[in-house]
């Protein structure tokens, strides 16, 4: 059922490759590769039924509208939304988070309010709240991260008060891999009347996510990290919350009535989708969801636990290598960030690249977390459905070359 060798066949880049050596792609946390089905779905749209959606009364436009809205339903069912009206298409997780900060935030965050987030957030789930708080006189508090890469839950509990209006937390760290105790966080946040936003940019591609079971209030994620195209992201929120929110961007398609005196807004979800949407990209994302469903999110999660188990074991044997984040595969996703002695991560990454191994080097859009650990940068290897233990082996061989060359 979960046959990695067969999966690899579905990804053109892993077969033909754009590099001089065969590609060991260990940067899916930044962006995943795309299966043929996704690429071809977009191709077919452009070649056969390209047209603007929603307002065209002709065959190809009807077909495009239909495909566009079908994708919305696929995405909605994928995270177990209550209905398709709760799915808003954006450019990326970053826009989803900014949409909440501008629309819900401006309407609901007042002077004296508190927004809680964590020290391990991606900048996308950090700066929008800093900006919102600065605009409205609110305060941002950060749940500390322990040396082992876990959230300090006692500190979180101490922050809770009726002033807390929002808890915005990642469901899986893109640096440490940490999977925080989300159920607990949601329960405690709701107990003081705060809403909970989950940054699902890493969780949704890599593990089963059920918004009804979680009972969260907002979920943001990106298509390009889950086998889908670039240029498409998703915001899910509970229908009542979305209904009460003012629009974010305004323009075509999001209106009921417009006059020189003012305007009224369209129903959900279109109220939040101003202008011509990313039609091909939405259709492509629908096919990505189909592909993930065929594999099964439980199986994907298990595959990643297996490969992370092997990787942690192998990496621990590399001289001078220090891994950040949880050491137990059950508590973490497939992103493994590390340092290799004093060798700068840029050099590690460049040397690995010359061996055909693609990893990421830098602060991974989590500068405050890196500063907390006293680092400017780490090297990050991350795994997905098409990676195997032999990719780990190639990584380790490359790291040995780094040591030989630079030490």
């Amino acid at each position: 059922m979960f046959d990695v060798e067969k999966i690899i066949q579905d990804f053109p880049i892993l077969n033909q490759g754009g590099t001089s050596k065969p590609l060991t792609y260990l940067d899916s946390t930044a962006s995943s590769q795309k299966p043929t089905a996704v690429i071809e779905a977009m191709d077919t749209y452009y070649r056969e039924y390209n047209a603007n959606v929603h307002r065209g009364i002709y065959q190809i436009s009807e077909k495009a509208s239909d495909a566009y809205e079908k994708s919305r339903k696929k995405v909605g069912r994928f995270i177990n939304a209550r209905n398709w009206r709760e799915i808003i298409f954006t450019r990326n997780a970053t826009e989803s988070l900014n949409l909440v900060a501008y629309s819900w935030g401006q309407a609901n965050i007042k002077a004296g309010d508190v927004i809680i987030t964590t020290e391990m957030e991606h900048h996308a789930n950090l700066i929008p709240w800093q900006q919102l708080a600065a605009r409205n006189g609110a305060t941002v508090k950060y749940i500390p991260v322990t040396e082992q890469g876990y959230l300090d839950m006692a500190a979180f509990e101490a922050m809770l008060s009726p002033e807390v209006k929002l808890v915005a937390v990642t469901q899986m760290s893109n640096v440490l891999g940490t999977i925080p105790p989300i159920d607990d966080i949601i329960e405690k946040a709701h107990a003081v009347g705060a809403l909970v936003l989950l940054d699902g940019a890493q969780s949704v591609p890599h593990m089963p996510v059920d918004v009804q079971a979680l009972d969260c209030d907002f979920l943001a994620f990106s298509g390009h990290k889950m086998l889908g195209p670039t240029g498409i992201g998703v915001l899910w929120a509970r229908e009542e919350i979305l209904n009460a929110m003012p629009p974010f961007m305004t323009g075509g398609d999001m209106i009921k009535h417009v006059s020189f005196e003012g305007s009224t807004w369209n129903d959900l979800p279109w109220k939040f989708e101003a202008g011509t949407p990313a039609i091909a990209e939405v259709i492509g994302l629908g096919y990505a969801v189909d592909y993930l469903n065929t594999l099964g999110m439980d199986n994907i999660r298990q595959h990643e636990i297996d490969i992370v188990t092997y990787a942690l074991d192998q990496l621990n044997q590399v001289e001078g290598l220090r891994i950040f984040g949880p050491k137990t595969p059950e508590n973490r996703g497939g992103s493994i960030s590390f340092t290799l002695g004093d060798i700068h991560p840029h050099d590690v990454s460049a040397i690995l690249d010359s061996e055909g191994v693609a990893v990421r080097a830098g602060h991974h859009c989590a500068m405050p977390l890196h500063e907390k650990f006293g680092l400017a940068a780490t090297t990050r290897a991350s795994f997905y459905i098409y990676n195997t233990n032999s990719d780990v082996d190639r990584l380790v061989i490359g790291l040995d070359k780094c040591l030989n060359l630079m030490a």
Partner: protein, 133 residues
């Protein structure tokens, strides 16, 4: 074309049944389709036995929205409110007898929306329930 604009649609469009308004309406509601400006107003008179004994509609719009309103008027007249409430999307589409894409579906169902959301006093999420997925 000959398929899409079937004789019965053109007939209802050219000669709408129950066109107009009611002076003694017990239920009145109007909705528009923001995407195309079609408007439909429906007046009902429901008697003490809960029977819809008088109906009228007034509207402006395309052949599909006007013909389907006219057809819907014929369907509900003489029915009890409960019987009428059971009429859904499928019955309208069957009466029109053509395949309808997502954009024109809104035209075809505008009169039903007026009836459900307005005259029956159902909230959008209630009458849309079957449409959650």
């Amino acid at each position: 074309m000959d398929d899409f604009y079937r004789e019965n649609i053109l007939d209802h469009y050219r000669n709408p049944r129950n066109a107009g308004t009611l002076e003694d309406a017990t239920h009145t509601h109007e909705e528009n389709n923001p995407l195309c400006g079609d408007v439909i107003r429906i007046d009902l008179h429901v008697n003490d036995d809960n029977v819809i004994n008088e109906v009228a509609f007034k509207g402006r719009g395309c052949a599909i929205s006007q013909a389907s309103a006219s057809m819907l008027m014929e369907m509900i007249q003489g029915k009890t409110l409960d019987e009428a409430k059971a009429i859904g999307k499928e019955e309208i589409l069957e009466a029109l007898g053509i395949e309808i894409g997502p954009t024109r579906l809104k035209c075809a169902l505008l009169s039903l929306k007026v009836l459900k959301a307005g005259a029956y006093g159902l909230s959008e999420s209630e009458w849309n329930k079957d449409d959650d997925w």
